[in-house]
């Protein structure tokens, strides 16, 4: 039995459809990510589950129980909205322990959990500070701690890390995930950050214009996205227009083998991390000659702009494997036919974002 189920959920703001017939199921104990660009309906989805926006139609079922008509305060859901607010008259400790205390938890249990959570967000030493004494980033961390410690076992988090410095964001995202698993929480976490989505989601629901375009594990969405927008939004891809026939796709003068059976004019997507460069090994089977036009160092990975017969392809490689490579050098690249993803060309009309990538390359 899924922990959370949405059946045909539709929400309108005036004439605008914010959520369009959403069907999703989230398993108990899963860390679910709702990802997508601004305006996709991510926040509305959380509000619908909490009961903060009226549904035009659809049902919301939690633990097998239909809660569509249950008032928000009786749903027993922990919610961290984007514009969170702390109780100004309570100190950090009071804020974090408020939920479980008011739910009548045992005092010693409340203390153990509050300590653990304040340690996680790095504010155990500020437990007696009041909200007005904290920086914005600290207040955000307290609000996050309060949501996780709310005593509810279904937690909704709306961009819980976006107000924080990147470094803190990177540390905290893994801490939240571990904490959620340790406390056996079911979490629905909204983010526009695809890297955050991939790195901590057990399952990702990709939203665009009020619809779920695709759902899957991070690995599934990375390796075999069924929708080209997924290839665009989750991870990074090269996009081309090509002509496919008999398992071979032709892009200008370049021919690539593909496992896709699509034929005719197609939209081609190739993950930048799946364009592999071989140094100093010379030509191997299926390898393609390329000239390195630009090298951009990002620490553990390096991004390379390659010129393949006039076609510009971006490759992202672990830096250790290409150290010493210079601009202007000739290298050999290979792309697994599994990684040459083909889509109907008409889909391009739905996604101007992808069109722009093709035009800019």
């Amino acid at each position: 039995m899924p922990r959370v189920e949405l059946k045909g959920v539709t929400v309108r703001y005036g004439r605008k459809i914010a959520l369009d017939n959403i069907d999703i199921k989230i398993k108990s104990g899963d860390y679910a990510i709702v990802a997508g660009p601004t305006g996709a309906g991510k926040t509305t989805l959380l509000k619908a589950i909490c009961g903060l926006v009226p549904l035009v139609k659809g049902r919301i079922i939690v633990n097998g129980e239909d809660i569509t008509e249950v008032p928000p305060e009786k749903r027993g859901i922990g919610y961290l909205p984007q514009g969170y607010a702390l109780f100004p008259h309570l100190d950090v400790w009071g804020n974090v322990t408020f939920g479980p205390t008011s739910r009548g938890w045992d005092k010693s249990d409340v203390e153990v959990i509050a300590r653990r959570i304040l340690n996680m967000v790095g504010l155990i030493e500020r437990a007696d500070a009041y909200p007005h004494e904290l920086s914005g980033g600290m207040a955000q961390r307290v609000a996050l701690g309060r949501a996780i410690a709310s005593g509810a076992d279904l937690i909704l988090l709306d961009e819980p890390l976006s107000a924080l410095d990147v470094m803190l964001r990177m540390i905290l995202r893994y801490e939240i995930k571990k904490m959620a698993k340790a406390l056996n929480l079911t979490v629905i976490h909204v983010t526009h950050d695809q890297e955050e989505a991939m790195s901590i989601g057990d399952r990702i629901f990709l939203l665009r214009k009020g619809r779920v375009l695709e759902e899957g594990s991070p690995e599934e969405l990375f390796k075999s996205p069924e929708n080209p927008f997924t290839a665009y939004f989750i991870g990074e891809s090269n996009f081309f227009i090509g002509y496919a026939d008999n398992g071979v796709v032709r892009i200008d003068d370049l021919e690539l083998r593909s496992t896709s059976r699509l034929r005719g004019e197609v939209l081609v997507a190739i993950r930048t991390r799946r364009v592999k460069i071989f140094m100093g090994k010379g030509e191997t089977l299926n390898s393609i000659r390329a000239r390195v036009e630009e090298i951009r160092f990002f620490g553990k990975v390096t991004k390379l702009l390659l010129n393949v017969n006039g076609l510009r392809i971006i490759s992202e490689m672990p830096t250790l494997k290409i150290r010493g490579l210079k601009q202007g050098e000739i290298v050999f690249i290979s792309i697994d036919p599994m990684d040459v993803l083909l889509y109907e060309l008409e889909t391009l009309e739905e996604y101007p974002e992808i069109k722009e990538v093709i035009m800019n390359s």
């Binding site: 893994y174 526009h192 939004f233 160092f297 990002f298 553990k300 990538v357």
Partner: protein, 325 residues
């Protein structure tokens, strides 16, 4: 603070919130006067010159577009202040927009524009009148990750094609690496290290720089008979630091090799897209991060390190020394 920025250089200034990054830009632009010291452009002091005479373009974190002016009026503001007619100013703006490949609804007011359009208008306003120096204060932090990744590529191209000298403040190290020729790392009002992305990554001068530019895990150890020995008695390699001294070993996640060495347990496995991140609790209780292309199903592993950096143990303690703020 002393720093020389070369003509045509793209410098990124990174550091945690409150380290003084924005104050630095305010001083260069003339919004703030320094208590001591001087600011020179092309060898001449600009102290005392009002901001509008410094010929420096500024893009603010919140963009600060004039809400009652449309795209044209905002972008052409600097040109009109300098005496161009409305027609000439708009002509110039359109030429720039075309050159940069911008697609802006110029007749819209700022709150009718997308965040990307607002960004582009702010950039035009900052440079269209001929500024040779461009200051950017967290210009991409308010927009979606995907959009900002595309915008930063464009930003670098424009700065380079117009031969501008740019100083770009951000808390995001990846953004800094994407745009900059050199990066200055700031902390608590000081420059800790200035260098190319590669220099900072391969020769960090402190544990802080090592963790702020790229990821790193740290172990505490000592030099014993010329070898680095970490907690639990594990020997991990040779040391060039004095015998017996407490030291910090910084390890990049890609330098963690699986197969032999210190036993540990995988506590968290995360997919990063063709790369996998492992959080490993070592038998001595320390935690390290590994990132590799290989996939492991087993929970018990052994790890060693193909490379590491050694630092003297910091006086303020390790956790304070690497604290993001």
């Amino acid at each position: 603070m002393n720093l020389l920025i070369r003509d045509g250089e793209y410098l990124a200034v990174i550091g945690p919130s409150g380290c003084g990054k924005s104050t630095l830009l305010k001083i260069i632009s003339g919004i703030l006067e320094p208590d001591e010291g001087d600011v020179l452009v092309d060898g001449k002091s600009i102290l005392g010159k009002p901001p509008e005479e410094r010929n420096i373009g500024f893009i603010f974190q919140d963009l600060a577009l004039f809400p009652h002016m449309n795209g044209f009026e905002n972008a052409g503001y600097g040109l009109k202040v300098r005496g161009l007619s409305e027609k000439e100013a708009y002509q110039r703006i359109l030429e720039f927009a075309k050159e940069f490949g911008f697609d802006i609804g110029f007749n819209k007011l700022p709150d009718e524009m997308s965040s990307g359009e607002q960004q582009q208008v702010a950039l035009l306003r900052a440079i269209a009148y001929g500024a040779k120096i461009l200051l950017l204060d967290e210009p991409l932090s308010a927009i979606d990750r995907k959009v900002s990744e595309e915008a930063r590529e464009k930003l670098r191209k424009i700065v380079k094609s117009k031969d501008l000298t740019a100083i770009h403040v951000t808390h995001n190290q990846e953004e800094a690496m994407a745009v900059a020729d050199r990066i200055a790392v700031m902390r608590k009002g000081r420059f800790i290290q200035v260098g190319t992305p590669e220099e900072l990554y391969y020769q960090p001068n402190t544990p802080f720089v090592m963790t702020f530019v790229g990821d790193a895990s740290f172990l505490v150890g000592r030099t014993e008979r010329g070898r680095v020995v970490v907690r639990g008695g594990y020997e991990i390699g040779s040391s060039n630091l004095p015998e017996g001294e407490l030291l910090v070993v910084g390890i990049r996640p890609e330098n963690v090799i699986f197969g032999k060495g210190i036993p540990g347990k995988i506590r968290l496995k995360s997919y990063l897209g063709a790369l996998v991140r492992y959080e490993i609790e070592l038998a001595n209780g320390d935690v390290i991060i590994a990132i590799t292309e290989e996939e492991f199903e087993e929970k018990e592993v052994k790890v060693w390190f193909s490379d590491y950096k050694l630092f003297r143990y910091p006086e303020e303690g390790l956790s304070e020394a690497i604290s993001p703020g």
